[in-house]
Symmetry: C2
Subunit: 215 residues, 2 copies
């Protein structure tokens, strides 16, 4: 499998989410037009992205929701299970521990870590909370491959280095700081405010239109 550009990977992730919502609504077939509208890209883009991986659709008949979803799972490496840990059990970390749908994508939450003594030894959403200093041995014990990083910004880089030293190669960074990951560690940053900024544009563009129409 040739490496896929990360912009394409991002769109495949979006298509997969759209397919999940279609499946939840009991819809069994879809089209590049439907996928494009829900994913907010062009139908041409959908067809081009999916063409990377061979032919899924039948001309004129669209895509089978289940089959395409299975194929995207395979491409994204979601057929296998990933063992996940949460680093930082504050409000965000606890919210993530409870987030539904993790298991749907084979993400198995195995462990959580925090520095606060009163949290260590508790169980949140079925997951044991360990002390940060136990990270090396607990990561190995639970065979953790991916970490969700929700520590305060100032602790994020040190946590990243501890994770890398323990052998974790994938980190989803919810902190607002930019990480400088060690070689071989893949970091995906989550921008909580991205949704707000896109809404801002949408409302702002409408207001500008209204003002132009009124002038």
């Amino acid at each position: 499998m040739a490496s896929i550009p990360s912009a394409t990977v991002g769109r495949l992730v979006t298509y997969l989410r759209v397919l999940a919502t279609l499946a939840d609504r009991g819809i069994v077939r879809t089209s590049s037009d439907d996928l494009a509208r829900e994913a907010r890209v062009s139908a041409f883009q959908v067809r081009k992205d999916l063409a990377y991986f061979g032919r899924f659709g039948t001309r004129g008949a669209g895509y089978d929701v289940d089959a395409l979803s299975t194929e995207l799972h395979r491409i994204l490496g979601l057929e296998r299970a990933w063992n996940v840990a949460i680093i930082g059990m504050g409000r965000l970390g606890s919210a993530l521990a409870d987030y539904p749908n993790m298991a749907r994508y084979n993400f198995c939450l195995q462990a959580a870590f925090d520095v606060a003594p009163e949290k260590v030894g508790t169980v949140v959403a079925g997951v044991p909370v360990y002390a940060m200093r136990e990270l090396p041995e607990r990561v190995r014990e639970h065979d953790v491959q991916v970490a969700l990083l929700t520590v305060p910004g100032e602790g994020a880089q040190a946590a990243t280095e501890a994770l890398a030293a323990a052998g974790v190669r994938g980190i989803v960074n919810f902190a607002s700081t930019v990480l400088d990951p060690p070689e071989g560690v893949h970091v995906e940053a989550i921008d909580f405010l991205a949704g707000l900024k896109r809404v801002s544009y949408a409302l702002h563009a409408e207001t500008s239109d209204d003002e132009r129409a009124a002038s």
Copy 2:
């Protein structure tokens, strides 16, 4: 201003985040190559996106971080302040109330809402928590324009309709359900698992490469 395709808006939001991190590091000039690498798109795409809005860069000299950032704020409607409310003060809602950087983009958190009687009347991160049934009058009182929706999935659609009836036209949906918003209401969905899925692809692609190399 002509309407910008939503994929472009999404990338502008990413460029703005990259610029903020460059500014935090004390960097005053950047290039389309730098922006492209950090935003994980092509340099051609960066230049094409920014060309929508006239010429920012100077050939060979790149972009002024501050000036480009100011311009993106203007385009995205972030020069003006938006009044924001959080609907659902569970762990995620409380975490969002505390999220740094909101004010940096002129998002003014004004009010929060919950159904739990023990939360109503409290103040979280400086923001008053009201009962859901007070939503219509409190939204008007605080002139709320945008809502962050963090209620459980089964309550999300009803909350959306209440917000729309109260005049809120922008919603960022953190619930895992898909909303059917009333006409004129703009919804942006946040997929918490998108980062995890992109990490999954990155690790999976590496593993496949390693296996090929070993065989």
